[in-house]
């Protein structure tokens, strides 16, 4: 009597993570390439923080844990964006603090 319900629950439990893993993989790939390009745009202002985080994200993805990888890549994206912003700001601000200017 409980069998159908059991099967239903079991299949849900199995398929949900699988489904979200598939979505996470795509999301991860998208975020990952966005981090790479933002990190590159930071030029000589790249942070090791971004590079390390990106590497860790890649390792998580390689081990198949795309949800963790996605989370890490999103954090890496924040770092990359901050470094790019730092580049833009510093290029304008530095003359005001330099001796001799």
């Amino acid at each position: 009597m409980y069998k159908p319900l059991l099967i239903l629950t079991a299949s849900l439990a199995l398929s949900l993570p699988a489904l979200s893993q598939a979505g996470a993989k795509e999301d991860f790939n998208e975020v990952y390439s966005k981090v790479e390009s933002t990190h590159n745009q930071a030029g000589t202002y790249q942070w090791t923080t971004t590079a390390n985080q990106l590497k860790a994200a890649k390792e998580a993805a390689d081990s198949g844990d795309y949800e963790k990888a996605l989370e890490m890549a999103e954090q890496a994206l924040k770092y990359a964006e901050q470094s790019l912003e730092q580049r833009k700001q510093q290029q304008e601000k530095w003359p005001a603090v330099a001796i001799g200017n």
């Binding site: 942070w47 923080t49 330099a98 001796i99």
Partner: protein, 278 residues
């Protein structure tokens, strides 16, 4: 890193550029830099700035002086001399690549090559010399290149830095180096100046910060922390990493421009490399 952040906050609060006169030729920069540090450290004679942190702290200085009988770079200087004098496979030596056979020339490096339109550091000149003579280039940051550079510096002891900015291309390289020194980088958001202009004489964890003025004159150095010799660009790499900025390539254009700017500010100060540092 907590201390670093505290300093950062302090820097943010007190950061005011020293009042500057209009215009910024390298020579004006240099004079104002000298003035800035002399005001900050009125008891330190100008020529002492080349000794970095040892110019600023009595205890450190004593430790340093007690080492000077058997300086740990002596071996590197001897090794460097031997390499310098040993002919390449083609029979020529390093001397053939340098003015005055490479003896007593450290104070003129880096210089701006107006034909190639780039900054030539001593280490770059050493490796270009090798390549011109059919030898493999050496690694940039430590080992043989540091020893050869140390020997060449030792033959220039006491000579006064005399860096020129001969034309507009050179000025652009100088300005790029200056921009690098004053721009904040890395997750910790520090510029070289945050530490070496705003905070020399202050401690950052176990390290005593040296002033910008005089930096470079003592290179290459033997550092206790490294347990060996290292070049200036090795030091740049470390200082970038410490603020969580990705270091740039040793002897790449950015670091060479940075060295050019920094060394210009040392004009009139003596060559004291090689030296020891903690």
């Amino acid at each position: 890193m907590r201390i670093a952040k505290v300093i950062l906050v302090a820097v943010g609060a007190t950061l005011t550029a020293p009042l500057a006169l209009a215009g910024d030729t390298p020579e004006e920069d240099r004079k104002e830099t000298v003035e800035y540090f002399q005001q900050k450290f009125p008891d330190v004679p100008l020529e002492e700035f080349v000794n970095g942190q040892y110019a600023l702290d009595e205890d450190r200085r004593k430790q340093w002086e007690s080492m000077s009988d058997f300086p740990p770079f002596e071996f590197a200087v001897a090794e460097g001399q031997e390499m310098f004098e040993t002919p390449f496979a083609n029979g020529k030596t390093y001397a053939s690549c340098f003015e005055n056979d490479g003896i007593g020339v450290r104070q003129n490096y880096p210089y701006f090559d107006t034909e190639k339109k780039e900054v030539i550091t001593l280490e770059l000149a050493i490796n270009r010399c090798r390549e011109a003579n059919g030898e493999e280039p050496l690694k940039w940051k430590k080992g043989p290149i540091a020893s050869i550079s140390a020997y060449m510096a030792s033959t220039s002891a006491g000579k006064k830095f005399d860096i020129e900015v001969p034309n507009d291309d050179a000025l652009a390289a100088y300005q790029a180096g200056k921009e690098f020194y004053y721009t904040r980088r890395g997750q910790l958001n520090f510029s070289c100046a945050s530490c070496h202009v705003q905070n020399p004489g202050n401690w950052i964890r176990a390290d005593l910060l040296s002033p910008m003025l005089g930096q470079v004159a003592n290179f290459p150095v033997h550092r206790a922390k490294w347990g060996e010799m290292g070049t200036l660009h090795r030091r740049f790499t470390g200082c970038n990493r410490n603020v969580r900025a990705v270091p740039l390539e040793a002897q790449g254009e950015e670091y060479r421009n940075l060295e050019y700017f920094m060394t210009y500010l040392n004009n009139g100060l003596p060559v004291v490399g090689p030296a020891t540092r903690p």
